[in-house]
């Protein structure tokens, strides 16, 4: 959709007039009694300029009301103006304006650091010094002589035209050259920004991935350290076992170091943090290895849950008590759901390049099951609970769910009370963290929104054709784009970092562990309650995040002119009334989208 910007010659109050005028015509238009020597074309153009002057579009003052009789006679107006005292001999306001444009262009060239061929000589310089052509020809003439002035103007036009077309074989107008140069510069910048954005997106994904892998290795290290401590506390510690555990800890430390190093290379790219090819290869090896280990662990967990499910199925077949059948069925359903989740996660880690990426919800579920199963294994080892017997030969194929008819059971008063208390505990565990993280998000939001507004205004300026000339005329006081972008990216990173803390609450191992501990007091029904509470918390988080996104989008809107905002508001009203029931023609898009994200 974006249109290629074109440059209007004249900027009026918010409107654009894409008129292209040759500088020689502008000169002839201000030159008083030059009409005898003008060419047909320049005469035609001069009429356009005169019309614009009459309409006030050129920024010139309109003739007073009592001169109404002379309005139709452009020559008379020009003569009157020619008689007015000039600021500088031979230099009119329009010539000065052209000079300012050129100076602005020159200063932009200097700032941009890009070498460009000067498209044209500065018209002011040409007029005052004859820099581009024959200087002596102008100096010889007396400015007071009318006839000489006519000749001088004709000479000036000739000098400018010759000089102008000498460096301009395409015979483009001044504005066309200006436009081409600006277009090229703007397009280059847009490409640069697009590239940066693209890189930024990939970077965020990579950083997230590395952080998750590191988190996994840290969790693994912690479990090994616990084992080591336990071993050391035994009466007769096994030296070989201790050595092996220490080796694993050292290996985990190395992996954490490599993942950290790779993370730094992405998040704070500079010379110090840059990785060598060898570093990269090692970091990738660590990543691939960790992925395989995660997949392997998930598979083990899956088989573990499947064993438990088979055990429950055997139990339900033998059971005759209706209330117990209902309870067992509930456990079977939960086990099947967990098998499905673990398998999905396992497949992803086995083939991360080809499998659909895991959603946060899936991740959360897999993580939750992992922690719970590991806790149950610990409890089993301590002898606190008895788990289902492990199968003799673990199957490699994925177990298929077996459906058993559900039978409902009325809850007792006591179980209801326990459930209410547990829900309150779970809400408290997560609720406090959500509140804390929300506060951090709302604190960093205003600065980010401010930067969004600045950036949007800048983007709008780049797109808006009339703004190009206003920049040349020095009306823009905005910072250089690169500075704006850097500041924008900085505040965005800060804001997103806080937002990520909020998003990650439901996957926080410590919190989940704490909640699981509470839930396990009620056995499997407690775990079911935990699942339900997590869904409720997800809704709360979704609403907070939607509110955040809405604030960010509205910040873009606030940067637009009021007229634009009114149009948007009208369209929104109509859209609501239309009750189309879908996001325009979103279906084919969502179809594609779900392939990648669902």
């Amino acid at each position: 959709m974006p249109k290629k910007p074109t440059v209007p010659l004249v900027e009026t109050a918010g409107e654009q007039s894409p008129l292209q005028i040759d500088p020689s015509d502008i000169l002839s238009g201000i030159a008083g009694s030059y009409d005898k020597k003008v060419t047909t074309e320049s005469k035609k153009n001069r009429e356009v300029v005169l019309k614009m002057q009459k309409d006030g579009e050129m920024g010139e003052e309109k003739p007073p009301e009592d001169d109404a009789d002379e309005k139709g006679d452009g020559k008379e107006i020009i003569r009157k103006r020619a008689d007015k005292p000039k600021k500088e001999e031979g230099v009119s306001e329009q010539e000065e304006r052209l000079g300012r444009k050129q100076e602005k262009l020159e200063s932009r060239k200097g700032r941009g650091g890009e070498k460009r061929e000067a498209p044209i000589e500065n018209p002011s310089e040409i007029l005052s010094k004859g820099k581009a052509g024959d200087q002596t020809r102008i100096e010889k003439l007396s400015p007071k002589s009318v006839s000489n002035r006519q000749t001088a103007l004709a000479e000036m036009e000739k000098v400018i035209t010759e000089s102008y077309f000498k460096t301009n074989p395409k015979k483009q107008s001044f504005e066309e050259i200006l436009k081409d140069n600006l277009d090229a510069e703007i397009n280059a910048k847009v490409e640069e920004i697009d590239e940066e954005k693209k890189e930024g997106k990939d970077t965020v994904e990579k950083i997230d991935e590395l952080r998750d892998l590191r988190s996994y290795v840290e969790s693994y290290r912690k479990s090994i350290v616990e084992k080591l401590e336990n071993e050391n506390q035994t009466q007769r510690p096994n030296i070989d076992k201790i050595n092996e555990l220490e080796r694993r800890i050292a290996s985990a430390d190395y992996r954490i170091k490599m993942l950290n190093k790779a993370g730094l290379a992405f998040s704070k790219p500079n010379k110090e943090n840059s990785l060598t090819d060898e570093d990269w290869a090692e970091a990738k090896d660590v990543r691939d290895d960790v992925r395989k280990k995660i997949a392997s662990e998930l598979h083990e967990l899956l088989l573990f849950v499947d064993d438990h499910r088979n055990f429950l199925i055997d139990q339900i077949k033998k059971e005759t008590d209706k209330s117990k059948i209902s309870e067992i069925q509930r456990k079977i359903d939960l086990a099947e759901y967990r098998i499905k989740t673990l398998d999905r996660a396992r497949l992803y880690y086995l083939n991360p390049e080809t499998e659909k990426k895991l959603t946060i919800m899936e991740r959360m579920e897999a993580q939750s099951v992992r922690i719970e199963v590991l806790n149950r294994i610990k409890e089993e080892r301590k002898g606190n609970i008895v788990m289902a017997p492990k199968r003799a030969n673990q199957k490699q194929e994925i177990p298929q769910p077996i459906k058993v008819e559900k039978k409902e059971e009325a809850p007792t008063k006591e179980s209801l009370e326990k459930e209410v208390a547990l829900r309150a505990e779970i809400q408290k565990i997560f609720g406090e963290k959500i509140k804390e993280a929300s506060l951090m998000v709302s604190t960093s939001r205003p600065l980010y929104i401010q930067q969004i507004k600045t950036k949007t205004r800048h983007d709008h300026t780049q797109t808006n054709r009339s703004s190009l000339l206003s920049r040349l005329l020095g009306r823009s006081s905005e910072k250089k784009p690169s500075e704006n972008i850097a500041k924008y990216e900085e505040t965005k990173a800060d804001y997103e970092s806080n937002l990520n803390i909020l998003k990650n609450i439901l996957t926080d191992e410590k919190l989940i562990g704490e909640a699981l501990k509470k839930a396990s007091e009620l056995g499997d029904s407690g775990l079911q309650i935990l699942e339900e509470e997590k869904i409720k918390l997800q809704e709360i988080l979704q609403r907070i995040l939607i509110t955040e996104a809405g604030a960010i989008i509205d910040a873009v809107g606030e940067s637009l002119p009021e007229k634009d905002r009114k149009i948007v508001a009208s369209l929104e009203r109509l859209y609501k009334k239309s009750k189309r029931g879908s996001l325009l023609d979103l279906k084919p898009i969502i179809d594609i989208d779900t392939e990648n994200y669902a």
Binding site: K357, T359, I360, K576, L586, I592
Partner: protein, 104 residues
């Protein structure tokens, strides 16, 4: 707002809302729908020139309560309209609904 259940199911799935209770899901969908649409319109207004805006204004004036007219105008003027919507959906999802974002 939701009339077309298949569309909404797809959006809900894309935004990871499938597991939420229906009432909650519908409410969130409505908010997301309005948000994405607003974001698309802002983007269009940034890219439109004065002439396009004036035309759109005129179309709105004459449309009354008929959304199909401005909608047809937008579809005609914005050549890659579907791409733009897709882009904005992505943006909104990335900025807000990252509970469904991939993590590894």
């Amino acid at each position: 707002m939701p009339n077309n259940s298949s569309h909404l199911d797809l959006i809900a799935e894309a935004f990871g809302l499938s597991r939420l209770p229906k009432a909650v899901r519908d409410s969130l969908l409505e908010e997301i729908d309005a948000m994405v649409f607003r974001s698309v319109l802002f983007k269009i207004m940034i890219d439109f020139d004065a002439e396009d805006k004036n035309e759109l204004h005129d179309v709105l004036e004459s449309a009354g309560d008929d959304f199909s007219k401005p909608y047809a105008f937008l579809k005609e003027k914005v050549k890659n309209f579907d791409d733009l919507i897709k882009e904005e959906v992505e943006k909104v999802k990335k900025e807000s609904l990252s509970l469904t974002q991939s993590f590894a």
